[in-house]
């Protein structure tokens, strides 16, 4: 069997390609061994670690960290915001209706300061604690 036998998923033929000892010897002679013993592995690992820490954290680490919590958090935030709005509308409907009134007043040509005063008055007069503050 030649070493041209192509393998894809079948059993590996037991015969490794025969080495040409003269070619191998020449290549070893010319290329030399990998100088594994000359490397300070601890220093190299430290260098790599320091370079990684010095680099800015990749964006996906934030995505990865928050993706599991993002959906429940956004649902909770949405529900909380909706309940605030509903509660606010049920207790002080004037507060919500006064904002569009102010916008239409400004659009109709009312001076801005006057419109703001009307709006502030509508809001503060609708809340019980507003009575404690001077107008």
């Amino acid at each position: 069997m030649t070493d041209l036998h192509l393998y894809r998923g079948g059993r590996t033929p037991p015969d490794e390609p025969r080495r040409d000892p003269r070619l191998s010897a020449l290549l070893r002679d010319l290329m030399g061994p990998v100088p594994m013993g000359d490397v300070d592995w601890d220093a190299l690992a430290g260098r790599v670690g320091a370079a990684i820490r010095a680099r800015q954290t990749p964006w996906w680490t934030y995505v990865q960290r928050w993706q599991r919590r993002a959906l429940p958090l956004s649902l909770a935030a949405g529900a909380f915001g909706a309940s605030i709005l509903v509660h606010s509308w049920l207790t002080h409907p004037e507060t919500l209706s006064s904002a569009p009134d102010m916008v239409s007043a400004v659009v109709a040509g009312t001076p801005t300061e006057h419109a703001a005063t009307i709006f502030a008055h509508a809001v503060t007069s609708a809340t019980p604690f507003a009575a404690d503050f001077p107008e």
């Binding site: 590996t12 033929p13 020449l26 290549l27 290329m31 260098r47 670690g49 990684i52």
Partner: protein
């Protein structure tokens, strides 16, 4: 032997010969993939210390490939650092169901090829081991000539063939081991090996025949 040390010896030892039909070799491979997947999950969850473990497990293997690509120790160390940085940065594209070794080896081969092209002069002068020089059958002038010819002919091979013939004929690895490293079927490794040897034998015939 722990799963981690077994996995490490599988990855770094050039003399280990895993039989793909040996169940213990398959178990070791599975243990490596599971360990790597767990480490990658930790890194993705923000634990950068887990990446230090990946670095320690793979740096020898990465250095070995890097050295064979650039042919210079300091360049190889720089390349190791550069490749681990790239791996960290693009970790989201790593498929945790696949072994980490071949993935980072591909990064080394791609980046190393670029580095070698940019530092062509140094790359054609591989370091010789000053402590234990290989006994040479060639005189110095012939060696220099043979080395120049080898550099020239290696440049005509593609990156994969160059790496395969070096891993096999210089580092003594089997086609199964090379296949593990490069994520190639052993038959594909043998085919590339055959092609690379054919080109090398033809180009270096004079130097081979001159040997006693």
């Amino acid at each position: 032997m722990t799963a981690t040390s077994a996995a490490r010896s599988l990855l770094v030892s050039p003399t280990h010969s895993p039989d793909p039909f040996d169940s213990s070799a398959a178990d070791e491979r599975r243990a490596v993939i599971e360990r790597d997947a767990a480490l990658v999950r930790r890194v993705r969850d923000g634990d950068s210390a887990a990446f230090d473990e990946i670095v320690k497990a793979y740096m020898r293997q990465v250095f070995q490939v890097a050295y064979r690509v650039v042919g210079h120790r300091e360049d190889a160390e720089d390349l190791v650092q550069d490749c681990f940085l790239a791996a960290y940065q693009y970790l989201d594209s790593y498929d945790a169901d696949r072994p980490f070794g071949p993935w980072i080896t591909r990064i080394v081969l791609n980046r190393g090829a670029n580095l070698r092209r940019s530092r062509a002069r140094r790359a054609t002068e591989p370091e010789t081991d000053p402590v234990s020089p290989a006994p040479s059958a060639l005189d110095e002038a012939t060696r220099a000539e043979a080395r120049a010819k080898l550099s020239e002919v290696l440049a005509t091979l593609n990156e994969r063939q160059r790496m395969i013939v070096t891993m096999c004929d210089v580092d003594g690895m089997t086609s199964a081991e090379i296949g593990e490293r490069l994520d190639l079927a052993p038959g594909t490794v043998r085919w590339h090996l055959h092609e690379a040897r054919r080109v090398l034998r033809r180009a270096l015939a004079r130097f081979i025949e001159d040997e006693p």
